[in-house]
């Protein structure tokens, strides 16, 4: 997995960023007609769409919960979203990401308002470039808001990582592939708790703490971008409605 890469030049990272700097992020809200809520995110080289349906009656019936709605999250990568063509259809990786995405988003939603119902989140990656799961969660949270699903707070997500023994924010492709650790995080900003936490690589306890702190800062920046996108959507609509 290791490769002879020079990750830092004059304190700048391989793509020119500072260690605590996010890639460019752009979020659009309400991009689809058919879905109840939707969003589009560009995050570095990632391009991801999200559509939300629901709440509606859950089926198959045996999935229904008598005290709240269930949340289904589907993460899919287009076959042409990566260098080597991916076989169309569900993959083991996609299934796992769908599962952790659900776990990351559900604590922020008031699903108890809708017993026996389901809310479906569909995340479609059109162009992949490291960090798709964080970008997908970020977009999904905005699409859920756009669908009017009642929520306690938005869920921003962002990875921290370790490269050449330095803790950095929001890994790019090379850092992800050849770095020392990757720590995708999702934050519940008001509760100040992490609802997504995965880690692969090699960290000391101190590095983990540093990475959690830096990742939290990144999430809070993403949070601002999420709010901006939603605000812009409302304002635009208000202007149009006048």
């Amino acid at each position: 997995m290791e490769k002879d890469i020079k990750f830092f030049t004059n304190g700048k990272r391989i793509d020119g960023r500072a260690i605590d700097e996010l890639r460019n992020i752009k979020i659009e809200v309400g991009v689809f007609k058919r879905a109840d809520g939707s969003s589009y995110i560009e995050w570095g080289g990632n391009k991801i769409y999200c559509a939300v349906y629901g709440p509606r009656e859950a089926y198959p019936r045996f999935l229904q919960k008598s005290d709240r709605a269930i949340l289904k999250c589907r993460y899919n990568m287009a076959s042409f979203a990566v260098e080597e063509r991916k076989r169309p259809g569900p993959s083991r990786r996609g299934v796992e990401i769908g599962k952790v995405t659900q776990g990351a988003l559900e604590p922020a939603l008031l699903l108890e308002n809708f017993p026996k119902c389901m809310v479906e989140v569909n995340i479609e990656v059109i162009q992949a470039d490291a960090g798709t799961r964080c970008a997908g969660i970020t977009a999904a949270s905005v699409a859920l808001a756009n669908a009017g699903i009642p929520m306690k707070e938005l869920v921003p997500a962002c990875a921290a990582g370790k490269v050449e023994d330095k803790i950095v924010l929001d890994l790019c492709k090379e850092e992800d592939n050849y770095g020392q650790a990757d720590l995708p995080l999702a934050l519940l900003p008001r509760r100040n708790e992490f609802s997504l936490l995965q880690m692969d690589g090699d960290l000391t306890e101190e590095q983990l703490e540093e990475a959690l702190d830096l990742g939290r800062k990144g999430c809070l920046q993403v949070y601002e971008i999420q709010k901006e996108a939603l605000k812009k959507k409302y304002i635009t609509e208000d202007v149009l409605n006048e």
């Binding site: 058919r34 879905a35 569909n122």
Partner: protein, 266 residues
């Protein structure tokens, strides 16, 4: 839709059609707004986003190399796949009618393959052994009627947008890029038959009450390269010929926009 609601909607749409009108104000021969964007996914060798009204489709092309089929040793391999992902419609979720996506993929595939749009012989690297293998994958993102035209236009757009690596004598990729050997721009035009009216580019509402559906694919030279009657229902000969005539005109309009996009690309 319950059949009662469906009947009411159908009656309303028919009563409008008697006066030559459609729910959304279009004439029988009008397409909704068409938007084409090339090169929207840079990991794909070629890609195209197509929007017809609120229907949104993305097509991507991936190029690999591999063995040709035994019965066509002197031709490249071409595969079309369509995904009616649950993103695009609440109905795609409930055990999606897989056969719809198969039909869609096969119609798009044949519309391109049989029209001779691609010079498959130029995709041969070493006859009988190594050829280019093209995958066109079509993602339906937002379903609001007339997938056939959106998917067909996106596929041909993505193919014209494709830059694939030039190969050296041993079949290894070089840094240089080259376009696909494209020869024609086939464009599908789809019509719904409702009562006795035949309307171009049906909306989702119109599709939900239509008696039958037909797609005609034409080329630059005004020739017909593919037709497909879909769903239940039937067509008179005169209706078929009328559809073909209309498709030549509408197909040329779509082709003009495609050509404009292709020239911007260079």
């Amino acid at each position: 839709m319950s059949s009662v609601l469906s009947d009411i909607k159908k009656d309303y749409i028919i009563s409008l059609l008697k006066n030559g009108k459609r729910e959304d104000g279009r004439g029988l021969n009008d397409m909704r707004d068409l938007k084409i964007e090339l090169g929207i996914a840079n990991k794909a060798e070629g890609s195209c986003f197509v929007q017809i009204g609120d229907t949104k489709v993305i097509a991507g092309v991936k190029c690999e190399t591999g063995a040709p089929f035994p019965d066509t040793p002197n031709q490249g391999v071409f595969t079309t796949n369509a995904e009616l992902i649950p993103m695009a419609s609440p109905d795609f979720e409930a055990g999606p009618p897989r056969e719809d996506s198969i039909e869609l993929a096969r119609i798009v595939d044949r519309g391109i393959r049989e029209s001779g749009a691609i010079d498959f012989q130029k995709l041969v690297i070493k006859e009988g052994e190594l050829v280019r293998v093209l995958f066109v994958d079509i993602h339906i993102m937002d379903y609001n009627g007339n997938l056939f035209d959106a998917a067909g236009i996106a596929a041909i757009g993505a193919l014209y947008n494709t830059k694939m690596p030039v190969l050296d004598e041993e079949g290894k990729k070089t840094e240089e890029l080259m376009p696909l050997p494209m020869k024609k721009i086939p464009v599908p035009c789809t019509y719904a038959k409702i009562a006795d009216s035949i309307l171009y580019d049906p909306s989702m509402e119109e599709e939900s009450v239509m008696d039958s559906r037909i797609t005609a694919t034409t080329e630059d030279n005004g020739r017909i390269s593919a037709m497909q009657k879909g769903d239940v229902g039937s067509f008179k000969k005169e209706e078929i010929l009328d559809i073909v005539r209309r498709s030549k005109v509408k197909g040329d309009e779509v082709r003009a926009l495609l050509k404009e996009k292709f020239s911007e690309m260079r």
